[in-house]
Amino acid sequence: MRLRPGSQKGAWFARDVVSSVDASGETILLHLPSGTYLSLDRSAARIVDLLNDDPDPRHAADALLRQFGVPFEQALGDVGAVVAAVQGMSAPRTSRGRRPTVAGVRVVTLSWWRMSARYRWTTVQVTLAVVAIELGLRVVSVARLARWMQVPLATEQAPPPLAGPDDLAGLSDAEQRAHWAVRWVLARWLYDGTCLRRALALGFFLRRHHPVLRLGMIDEVGAAAHAWIEFGGRAFDAQPVTGTFAAGAVGAGPDDRSGSDTGGLP
């Protein structure tokens, strides 16, 4: 989908957007209220930067006039179009549900029944949390759902996490069971067990450690995002990413990445 002139105009709120860059250096913006990832070219990224500094469209247009010599009316139109696009564009949510079969229910139930009582109870708890997450993803923004799950979305600049096995040191027995059960349940869930669902569920069960949810773009060609949680200097379910989504600094290009290990990028 390409930019369409604004059909929906509204005030700009810098807190509604976080940004990162993908492996090719494109600026990727996440509009938090709609949960939509958008790819911005340099001009759009520049305009978003200006709006984050000062939400008045006329001031942004004036800056474009001074910096690039763009006629004020044209610049104001471009700023309005960017605001409308960021606030108005959305992607359809594809619900990849699976219809369970009788045989499938039987094998999963048997697998569950073979667990110890503690693990059975933990998987029940995790299943309830996953159901709540599934419902929450349909009715509220991810940022709000993350707050409800007590794993708030972090929007400050941070270096990419070190990928590696999860460090379970310091977790209680119940938390370690939950760590295992989140994977067990989501691997059998009726919808795709995405990393976002995994991060929200795991963060909820590790909430006494005050985890935060982080988002980033996968460090390889293609548009794929990753979600993970962090607390105490540890990342859970970390993968190589180009950087974390953060507030401000939208126009950072590939050469401006801070703390990102981009040595192997194409």
Binding site: L38, S39, Q67, V86, V107
Partner: protein, 52 residues
Amino acid sequence: MAEESYEAPQITVLGDITDMTQAKPGIYFDFPGAAEGNPKVPSPGAPGTGTS
């Protein structure tokens, strides 16, 4: 800082946050071998129970 040029801004929708995060292959209800793989519950922290 290098001189930047200005062109009409372009914005492209990539996807929804609930869909763009990665999904891993799972053992779903309709997978006939679900119970045959590893019926024994691994202990937390055992190989294969961490991040993949």
